[in-house]
Symmetry: C2
Subunit: 406 residues, 2 copies
């Protein structure tokens, strides 16, 4: 059996007309003799609308009941797709998380899929049926509905591809693929044909919102090849695959950036062992993710300056936690909300000397000041003034010849 | 255990504010030491909105997928109630039809509940929990979600009362109880304190839309006492109970009426045995309900006139079926859309002579013409010109002294 998993995102099923479009895409694979397994998100906007109901009715709305409510989004979109396919003469039905079942563990609203029971779906596709499986949800040991992290439908699709041993997983979305950088920022952005899991992971977590990072990680671990492509265009998309399948002319594959960061600098922190830990512990305990961190070498050995970045949305909470933290002494807290992080990403970077130098030189030439630097094996990130964002991305795009990408 | 079943209708949970109100009603029973089982409808309007989606996307949207979609209405309302109760400090959770399970048989979209599994709910209420059970739905042998007939949440509640051996079932709705006639038509209408199942059944099926008729029938068969009362008022409602519990000063207990009927008269039908059957067979096969029927005695034995009433919404289909029916010959079809059926209802009628005479005389006095008559053991119905509806109801209300009802 040639099994293929097709995943449709919220915007792809965002209206009844779009669901009809989606049904026709599904049929095109059936005509190519594929056994198709569909995973769908909720119609765009629905999940947020439902979420706002829970927030309005109770300050501490319990997560288990929130999951019962949010899961209706996919329940509806999947039944609409199945109903339309039947209307068009195909055998199809919706499969809710609890009906397979898709078994999850962990807390409500952020559960993990640990197993997808296969037999019912395999029997169904053998008989010629097209199963439409609800993304983003499952059922736990107590037979209660659970949901994954937001955007979890991508993970549902990848794990369906894994458990059903699919040839491929195709993510249908509202963009044509993965770009060298965000096409909304600069028209220089170019679609990438093939990208490695690792590069995609860096691009995704750095703000290129094509897929949820956790789902790319699952694909990488299970060696599931992914195609990302547009529901509304015939052009081929981007294939996300193993490093060794990538034959690129470029060391740098993409430039990602963030716009919603905040930089905090603690001036005159008393320098003693464990001081950074005591600053970051309460942040960690409150699920605040600290991204870039720089600690200055302390000039007389007594005091140091500590700079770090967080998501802008966490700023208020972070400020409060630092001010209430009795374990740290510092002279002054400086906050800068006008920062952006620009990153160049590429798996070839580690074997190519001089990349860092070229990046810094290109920015310096345009008089763009670098505030913080962080690097990984396949990525270099710099923090800059937000007003220089477009200029920085364009100069780096040019420097690393991304216009000529394959 | 003193178990009570509380059922909330769509208007009772029609907004977040109303759900908060409902939560407080539930808590008031907990404070009276009841073990409360809640059954809820979907928020008003939601089911119709979902239904319109299925109609828009496919001309023949399959009923099984329609059920998957419609069931989300109660899934959301029940989770909102449970979440609010938890927020207020009570142990509560939603229970979806498939989680108990509530087992149904029959076709999708018009299934019947055949069993409600009790053990999980009984364990839960013993531990002090307040279960919020989705009305209107269940699960079939194939583990697929099913729904009952529209308004089926009443039946869900009655059957919960039956299976859990509840002391009583209280139907919370948007009216204060059952009235002698529709208060929107005449201010003379008076709330009835106690009514028998049989009377209520006639009132319900004749257009007094307080409860779904099938649910009253279930209550009658299982001797479940029902209270109907308003979610938004403290006044006591109407108790629906056994005939022998009714001690009324009146033979006639209520006057119900319809506004959406159509009268069809076939003039000059060739009179031969089985002619009525051949007229009504195609209507029956198309689920068109024929209500009142009169066949004139044929003058010479060759021809007769046949008059019958149907729901106005079935008129077009009926007209077509009659015109295409090759088995019947008639001279002319006369259609009258301006008719109303007025019925007087009372279990004591059968033992009280002269009721029919009093009804006809009262109408005649006001020069109201009776077009068709039909009678049952506890009801007399007459078809009149719609323009005389209000006048007719008021004169009958006065004739049978319903202003003095208990």
């Amino acid at each position: 059996m040639k099994i293929i998993v097709l995943k449709f995102g919220g915007t792809s099923v965002g209206s009844l007309e779009k669901i009809i479009k989606v049904s026709k895409i599904i049929i095109s694979y059936i005509k190519k003799k594929y056994k198709v397994i569909v995973v769908s998100s909720a119609m765009s906007g629905v999940t947020n609308e439902l979420l706002s109901k829970t927030k309005k009715i109770a300050r501490n709305f319990p997560n288990d009941e929130k999951d019962v409510i949010l899961s209706t989004g996919e329940q509806i979109s999947c039944a609409l797709i199945a109903g339309k396919l039947r209307d068009l003469g195909y055998m199809s039905r919706s499969w809710l998380g609890w009906q397979l079942p898709i078994i999850t563990r962990g807390n409500h609203s952020s559960s993990r899929i640990i197993k997808i029971k296969k037999n019912k779906i395999l029997n169904y596709i053998k008989k010629g049926g097209i199963p439409i499986i609800t993304g983003f949800q499952g059922v736990n040991n107590d037979f209660r509905i659970t949901t994954l992290d937001r955007g979890g439908s991508d993970t549902s699709a990848i794990l369906c591809a894994k458990f059903f041993k699919a040839e491929k997983c195709i993510i249908y979305t509202d963009v044509k693929g993965v770009y060298t950088t965000d096409p909304r920022l600069t028209t220089n952005a170019k679609k990438i044909n093939k990208i490695s899991y690792e590069e995609m992971l860096e691009m995704a977590s750095l703000g290129a919102k094509v897929m949820q990072p956790a789902s790319i990680q699952e694909a990488r671990l299970n060696r599931i090849e992914i195609d990302v492509r547009s529901t509304f265009s015939k052009t081929t998309g981007t294939t996300i695959t193993k490093k060794k399948n990538i034959f690129s002319n470029n060391t740098i594959r993409g430039i990602s950036f963030t716009k919603n960061d905040a930089k905090l600098t603690l001036i005159g922190v008393k320098d003693k062992p464990g001081i950074a830990a005591s600053i970051f512990k309460p942040l960690y305990e409150n699920s605040i993710n600290v991204d870039m961190v720089v600690q200055n070498v302390s000039a007389g050995g007594k005091e140091t300056d500590l700079t770090f970045t967080i998501k802008l949305e966490d700023l208020k909470k972070t400020e409060k936690l630092i001010k209430n933290n009795i374990f740290i002494k510092y002279r002054k807290l400086i906050i800068n909300k006008n920062v952006s992080k620009v990153s160049i990403v590429g798996v070839g970077m580690i074997t190519t000397p001089g990349i860092t130098y070229r990046m810094f030189k290109a920015l310096a030439k345009k008089k763009i000041n670098i505030e913080v630097i962080s690097t990984s094996e396949i990525k270099i990130s710099v923090l800059i003034d937000k007003k220089n964002l477009k200029k920085s991305v364009e100069i780096l795009h040019q420097e690393f010849k991304l216009n000529n990408s394959l």
